[in-house]
């Protein structure tokens, strides 16, 4: 198959002369009364037609040409339309760089051997984190995938699937390389590493991520998942051990020496191993591409499609819902357990039972307790509050299942005989207890075990900051799971990127806004009581489900109507309707017929 040029694509192609269709009456007599006799015009036997061998590469190029041919604007026009987004991106990037510089400066203030070693260990923890997340993403999406359309139209054709998918495999590996390298470089820069160390860790993390992606792809071809799961567990465990080592070293409990030169050597060593894995596993994955089932390829593709939909609405909660739903479908069945107690307590008990049925999120929850100690060990001072609260938020989100489902689904909430605030309070009880335990467990970090108190206050005040951090993480979790999605039914805001619902941009910062508010007093050195008061106010709002704009609007209209009626009665007129409606004409309108 040859690739058609632009001209040939746009001009009608000459067809080979076709024989005149012959009308052949069907032999089967219809048995459906007045249904006309069918006329069969297809007389060619497809099996007898001469078929050419399919060139997969040409087929892909053809698809690419079609897509390009249907594009309504080029990349520069699209970028021109999105200049506001690009400008925002530039501002956020500048803020990020500024934060990195500030964190570096803060980290550099702590120049003890413990601090230096702890900083040297942090890229290892980040490496483990990146590899763990890469494996998780690879397992969920494929990593090799195909869209539903590709699965239906192409995968069924007599072509070599491996040739169709090869470029996709390499693209995924390269993407893992680039993203891993960026994260590695960022971590090394944040911990005050030299330029050489930054380069070494960028290369190391990038190649390791690429290697692990290739490994997951090779396992996908072999229809295996257990090896990937084991590797993921081992990597997560290594990450936790490294994080504990960061704390222990900085506190002087153990002695390790990680100099900048050693960090560079280790970074290159990781890069070497990653490269070998990348090449070896990549070649195996390439060889096994044809063995991947179409259903497996399409399931990843449909997941990406769902994620894209949620991404357009910037609804990360919805993205998580899709993943949770998919996991539930994959699990399919559970051993049912009867509930306990009655009333609101039954909801709380069900959340407790969930902890035993789905204990995996507890691993992240317990691991998050190390974070304040590690942040303190790195000498990041007042940033401990927001950083730890954000990590706690992420760790608590899986425990908010009841709240998430009840805030998303009004129909389900309506079946329970409780007010919104009662439901929300009950659905937040278990996460609140977990946050409380977390606050107590990390108090030692805030008091300054193994070093000075990071907030420079009395132990009592430091302990209070620990609890405030837990409170901030808890509130951020509630906000993240229960914030309303952007409402496309409301009047849109005109932007250069087109019409947008007003709440769309706020979706990005949900949860983060609560952490920022609660951490502000810690960062600027105000009394912790300000955070406590802020937290109580925020909680009372979140408990009510925020301000119901529709309810406010209805109340406003009701007040207007009453005022109009009152004015009319003073003037001695009959009350008039406040608004005139345009009615739909129907054949015969009757309100109620009995």
């Amino acid at each position: 198959m040859s690739r058609p040029g632009k001209k040939s694509r746009r001009q009608p192609q000459q067809r080979a002369p076709q024989p005149e269709p012959q009308v052949v009456p069907a032999e089967v007599q219809p048995a459906w009364g007045d249904v006309p006799e069918p006329v069969l015009v297809l007389h060619q036997d497809v099996n007898q037609l001469h078929g050419h061998e399919v060139d997969e590469r040409q087929l892909q190029l053809l698809v690419k040409d079609w897509r390009r041919g249907r594009a309504t604007r080029n990349i520069w026009q699209a970028l021109g339309d999105a200049y506001v987004a690009l400008f925002s991106f530039a501002v956020i990037a500048a803020m990020l760089i500024s934060s990195i510089a500030r964190a570096q400066a803060l980290a550099a203030e702590c120049s003890t051997e413990g601090c230096t070693t702890a900083r040297g260990l942090l890229p290892w923890a980040m490496l483990a984190g990146v590899l763990g997340l890469t494996l998780a993403a690879a397992r969920v999406f494929g990593p090799v995938l195909a869209s539903a359309a590709e699965g239906f139209w192409l995968m069924d054709a007599p072509l070599q699937r491996s040739k169709m998918l090869a470029r996709r495999l390499w693209a995924i590996i390269v993407a893992a390389l680039v993203i891993g390298a960026l994260v590695g470089a960022l971590t090394a820069a944040l911990t005050g590493g030299s330029l050489m160390a930054v380069g070494a860790w960028a290369l190391g993390t990038g190649l390791a991520a690429a290697g692990i992606t290739a490994f997951a792809a090779a396992e996908q071809g072999a229809e295996r998942i257990w090896l990937v799961r084991i590797l993921q567990a081992v990597i997560s465990l290594v990450g936790l051990v490294v994080l504990l080592a960061v704390v222990a070293t900085a506190s002087g409990w153990i002695s390790l020496t990680v100099t900048d030169a050693l960090a560079v050597e280790l970074g290159f060593a990781v890069a070497g191993v990653g490269l070998l894995l990348c090449i070896g596993a990549g070649l195996i994955a390439r060889a096994r591409l044809s063995q991947i089932r179409r259903a497996r390829l399409q399931s990843g593709g449909s997941l990406v499609a769902g994620m894209q939909g949620a991404m357009f609405a910037m609804d990360f909660g919805l993205m998580r819902d899709i993943l949770v739903e998919r996991e539930a479908v994959a699990r399919g069945h559970v051993r049912p357990t009867r509930g306990r107690s009655t009333g609101l307590a039954s909801l709380i008990w069900r959340d407790v039972q969930r902890l035993f049925r789905y204990p995996r999120p507890l691993v992240l929850y317990f691991a998050s307790m190390v974070v304040p100690y590690a942040v303190q060990a790195l000498g990041l001072g007042r940033l401990t509050v927001p950083i730890s609260a954000l990590v706690l938020m992420a760790a608590l989100v899986p425990f908010f299942t009841t709240l998430r489902v009840l805030s998303r689904t009004r129909g389900l909430a309506r079946t329970f005989p409780f007010s919104t605030s009662q439901l929300r309070t009950a659905a937040s009880a278990v996460p609140a207890i977990l946050a409380g335990i977390w606050g107590v467990a990390v108090t030692a970090a805030f008091v300054g075990v193994g070093g000075s108190s990071m907030l420079g206050n009395s132990p009592a005040q430091a302990a209070m900051w620990a609890l405030i951090t837990a409170f901030a993480g808890f509130l951020a979790g509630i906000r993240w799971v229960s914030a309303k999605s952007a409402n496309y039914n409301t009047p849109m805001v005109a932007t250069s990127m087109g019409a947008m619902p007003p709440g769309l941009m706020f979706n990005l910062i949900r949860g983060f806004d609560m952490v920022a508010l609660m951490s502000l007093p810690a960062i600027v050195g105000w009394s912790p009581w300000i955070s406590v008061v802020l937290g109580v106010i925020i909680f009372s709002f979140l408990r009510m489900g925020g301000i119901d704009q529709e309810e406010l609007k209805a109340m406003q209209e009701e007040n207007k109507r009453q005022a109009a009626e009152a004015r009319a009665s003073i003037r001695g007129e009959a009350p008039a309707k406040s608004t005139e409606k345009i009615k739909v004409t129907r054949t015969k309108r009757e309100g109620t017929r009995r």
Partner: protein, 214 residues
């Protein structure tokens, strides 16, 4: 009939979306042990009326009262007395069929939830699926689970939007028998339906919306 309490009272209900009026000046009163079927062609406003009745939508004008209390979707008193099966019901992705029913019965304060749940499960023919998560149920089974949620809790008013949807013939027959039994026990029922057999089985008072069929 006159001695029976009024459960639902709808007065001059109108609902508009922008300039389009879907329901205009609709009135309805339903007493205990009475079943009302809203009928009419697609787009006549049946679902809109039902959504207003349960508080899922706010009427543009008019009022809805349940047992003398002004309708508010979030009022616990109303939630305690009104069971609904309309299209906005979803499920917890991680709880099995039986756990949904058990949780709902307990939330409504029923101490003897186990036996009730077992009976309802058997009646909606979901015993084999009791341990299944909702994501793996067929559309018909999901419908049965939705209906089961209405029967596993106390109720004085039942609001159903095309409950026969996605049910097989046997299922529709069961639903007719179940609703008739509920009606005889004094439950007030309001439903929208396109199934004449179900409406007839229930002995409903018929309210046709949007004028008679052409």
């Amino acid at each position: 009939m006159a001695s029976r309490d009024t459960v639902l009272k709808v007065t001059n209900l109108s609902k508009s979306y922008g300039p389009t009026t879907i329901v205009d000046n609709f009135n309805l009163e339903v007493r205990e042990g009475e079943a009302v079927a809203l009928t009419g062609r697609n787009g006549a406003g049946k679902s809109t009326v039902l959504r207003c009745l349960v508080g899922a939508d706010r009427p543009t004008e008019g009022s809805v009262e349940v047992l003398g209390v002004k309708m508010s979707e979030t009022n616990p008193e109303i939630r305690r007395n009104v069971a609904t099966v309309i299209d906005d019901l979803d499920f917890f992705p991680d709880l099995s069929v039986v756990e949904h029913l058990d949780l709902l019965a307990r939330a409504h304060g029923l101490d003897e939830a186990d036996q009730l749940v077992d009976e309802v499960l058997e009646e909606v023919q979901l015993v084999p699926q009791s341990g299944q998560l909702p994501g793996t149920l067929s559309s018909g089974q999901r419908r049965r689970l939705a209906l089961a949620t209405a029967f596993v809790r106390p109720r004085r008013l039942l609001v159903l939007d095309e409950p026969e949807q996605r049910l097989d013939v046997e299922g529709v027959k069961w639903l007719g028998a179940r609703l008739r039994a509920e009606k005889e026990k004094g439950l007030a029922i309001v439903m929208a339906s396109h199934e004449p057999a179900l409406v007839e089985a229930l002995g409903c008072r018929i309210v046709e919306l949007g004028g008679p069929r052409g």
